[in-house]
Each structure stands twice: as C-alpha cells, then as structure tokens.
Amino acid sequence: MSHAKSEAAQEWKHAAVSTASMYGNFFFWLFREPFPTRQLGQQIVRVMLEGFGILAVAGVVEGAMFAWLAGWYGTKFSVINWAGAASLYLLLTAATTLFGAMMFAAKIGTAFTVEIGSMQMSGQLDALRLMAVEPTQYITIPRVLASILSFPILKAISDACSILAAILLARLWFDISVPVFLQHALLVLRPTILTTSYIRCALHGFFISINACGLGFYFQGGAIELGRTTTKSIVINLVCVLVIDTVYGVMDSVFGWSTM
C-alpha cells in the first residue's frame, strides 16, 4: 500500500518536473529559427473551432444563471432594476473568465495532452527528432501561442452569449426591459473590466496549454498511462486556473487594474 503511494507520489513528482521543464523549453525555442508560422495558423483555427461550442454553451448557462440569481436577490431586496448591472458585473469580472478557463482546460488542454501523448506512443515525436525537427518548436510553440491568442477571442464570444442569455432571462422571467437592463449595466461597465479579463484569459491560455503539452511529452507507456496522464492534465490545469485566478484577483484588488 505504502509502496503504491510512494510510486504515485513519484509519478506526480515526475509529471510536475516535466511540466516545469516545458516552461524553460518553450522560452528557449520561442526565439529560434524556423518560426512555425504555418502550424500557428493551423492551431489558431483548430483552437477556435474546438473551443467555440463549449465556451458559447458555457456563456449561455452562466449568463442565465447569474441573471436569475441577480433577479432573485433584486426582487427580494427591491432593487430589481439593478439585476442587469449586477449580473453583468459578476459575469464579466469573475464568472466567464473562471468557468471559461475551466472549460478551456477541459476541452483544449486535454486534447493537447492526448494528441501529444499519442504522438509519443506511436513514435511520431521520435520521428520528428530524427528529421532534425525539435518537437518543442514544432508542436508546443504553435499550440501555446494559439491558446494565448484564441482564448481571449473565445472569451469575447462567450461573453456575448452570456450577456444575451442574461438579457433574455431578465426579460422573460423578471420582466426587466432591455433598455432598463442595458442602462443600469452600462453604469457599472468600464473598458478596464474587459481588458483585464482578456489579459487574464491570455494568461490562462498560456499556463493551460504549456501544462497540457508538458504532460503530453512526459507521457510514457500505453493506453492506461495515457488515461492517467490525461487525468493529471485536467487536475493540474484546474488547480492552476484556480491559483492564477485567485492571485490575479488579489493583485487586481490591490492595484485596482479593473477600476482604473
């Protein structure tokens, strides 16, 4: 039993070291020729297509949920006209980024881990090395840069979906007219709320994709090990999302980035 525990601990340690080393590798290869421009384009399209559905659906659910909560409390405390403002503020400052990052980790992060792990298993990474192609440069850099660039765009789409869902629910359930919803919402909305949330998304995109790629490269073994590695990828990335969101939130409240 204790042997199994120590093996599991060793495995996690190995995974953590491998993931950490990917950060160094990424910056080492980022500025070396040839830059994988074509692969970057392909990965941007891929991340956008694969992430669009899940983030749009998540946006609709979050928008409806937060509008309903804001409406319910607004009715209770007789400030129903502010429900739109409250839901929008919560959505844009916290909810869509956090939940969106979780969805991104689940959908895109695991896809990267499984894809690279399968390439490892079938010898494709070794084949690249033998063709004098550095896998970090050819595989990791396009995926990480595509995540950094695409996740804020996906977040903007998710935001739009959540706002539409919030407006619709507020109108149908709480009878808040669209002009009233928007009038109050615009009072609390500042451009810095949006810019800081998109910067946070880019950060999440960076960490999620590097962790996922690092774990794909770390993988060794067969189908069972690939399953375990994928589990590690999602666990590490969800923890990472929570930590980054907390640290960023604390720094935001200290430096007042989103209230500037």
Partner: protein, 251 residues
C-alpha cells in the same frame, strides 16, 4: 560505417544493453536478431541519439553520437533515416505531406522539386496512387512503405529498420521484404535491420548479429549464420523446436 563499442544502456532499475560491440559495414544490410524485449529497438535509438547510453561509444562515419552536441547530432541525423515499428506517420498529414515533410520543413528543395521527388519515392515503394490518402486509410504494410519513402527522401546514407514486418500478414510482410531488398539494389544504402523474423532475415541479410543478454553474442555472414553449428542457427531453429517440443510435452 557505423561502429558501436561497449555500449551500455539502462532504464531506471532495468539494464537493457550491457556491452554492445558491432560494426555496420558500408553498403551491406546487417540484421540484428534476438528475442522480443531484449533491447534491439533501444540499440537503434542509441545509434540515432534518441537515447543516450550510460557508457560506450557509437560513431557514424567517425562522428561520435554519444554525448554529441545538438548541432552535431542534427548533422549526423541528416545522414540517417529510420523506419519505426508502426511507421510513425503524422496522423494529421496526407501521404504526400508526410513524405515531403523533411524537405519542406528544412526548405531543402523548391516546390516543383519536392513534388517530383515525392512522386519518385512513392513510385519506388509502389504507392504512387496514394499520395492524397490519410495515414488512417492505409493498412499496416502501406504505412511502412510510406514511412520508408519518407525516411529515404532526404537520401540518407544509412537506413535503420525497426521490426519492419512485425504484425503484418505474410503477404504484406513479403511486399515489405521485397521493397527493402529492392532498395538495397537500387542504391548504395547501408541498412541496419532489427527483427526476430527468420524469413525476413534469410531474405535480406548480408550479415547477421545475434543479441543476447545485452550483448552481441554472434556475428556472421548470412551463409555462415545458417550453418547448423552456428549460434544464430541455434537461436532461430533449434531453440524454437526445443520450446515447441517442451510445450507439446506439457500440453
């Protein structure tokens, strides 16, 4: 010439190669035989620098592979092509893109020249009509043929084959065997094949080396290797007959 001297390699807690010493002669096909899991593929990976031995020396045309810098390793690898067990084709690319990949990535030729060379190599391996197919549409034997075309497109001096017929039905295996032999005749390529396939060995080998217990225990020309007194003959024929007899008796 590829020269291995005293090569030792171990995975954590599991020694694999103890003391491998072997010369791969120019323009010949050397076949390394041995039981499954004995370290034949590991030896190939050591030769190409994908794994780093803990001791010993491997030279390719006099250039040391063990401990080579990245730049040296890249230069050495340009002289070596390798066929992996399952072909290791890139799933997201068509057959054409797979074969053209090394030329395109390193910008070694113009677009027209790449088209010409890819078509020529697909013709050579008997797959001219599959250039737009995706790897998942191909059988195991076809994948290996495409992988050979990809390994050869940069015109390496050395071609390494890792179990080229493993898992193939006899007809597909025969096609791959003929292709390897055909390539031997076409150009002056030095080949190193690791396998436990006796038919393949008989058909393509110029020299045969037997790997046992992490060492090369016998190394002989094909004509000598299949003499009844040879260790390689014993490995292939006598051991197999003995194990069959033992199992039949137990059964």
């Amino acid at each position: 010439m590829i020269r291995a001297r005293g090569v030792r390699f171990a995975f954590p807690g599991r020694p694999v190669l103890e003391d491998i010493t072997l010369d791969i002669e120019e323009s010949l096909t050397t076949v390394v035989v041995g039981r499954s899991g004995i370290g034949k593929s590991v030896f190939l990976k050591c030769i190409t620098g994908l794994l780093r031995p803990q001791a010993g020396s491997i030279t390719i045309d006099g250039d040391e592979v063990v401990g080579a810098t990245r730049a040296n390793l890249l230069a050495i690898r340009k002289r070596v092509g390798m066929l992996f067990q399952e072909g290791a084709l890139f799933d997201s690319m068509s057959v054409f893109e797979n074969v053209a990949f090394p030329l395109m990535y390193h910008k070694l030729a113009s677009g027209k020249e790449i088209n010409r060379r890819v078509q020529a190599y697909l013709d050579l391996v008997g797959m001219p009509e599959y250039s737009q197919a995706m790897p998942q549409e191909l059988s195991g034997g076809m994948k290996r043929k495409v992988a050979v075309a990809r390994a050869m497109i940069t015109e390496p001096r050395y071609l390494l084959y890792d179990e080229p017929t493993a898992g193939l039905d006899p007809a597909s295996a025969a096609v791959v065997e003929s292709m390897i032999r055909g390539l031997q005749r076409e150009g002056a390529i030095t080949s190193l094949v690791v396998t436990h396939d006796i038919d393949l060995t008989r058909y393509i080998a110029d020299r045969i080396a037997l790997m046992e217990d992490g060492r090369i225990s016998a190394d002989a020309a094909r004509e000598d290797a299949f003499q009844e007194s040879s260790a390689i003959y014993e490995h292939f024929i006598v051991n197999r007959e003995r194990i069959r007899a033992e199992n039949d008796n137990q059964g």
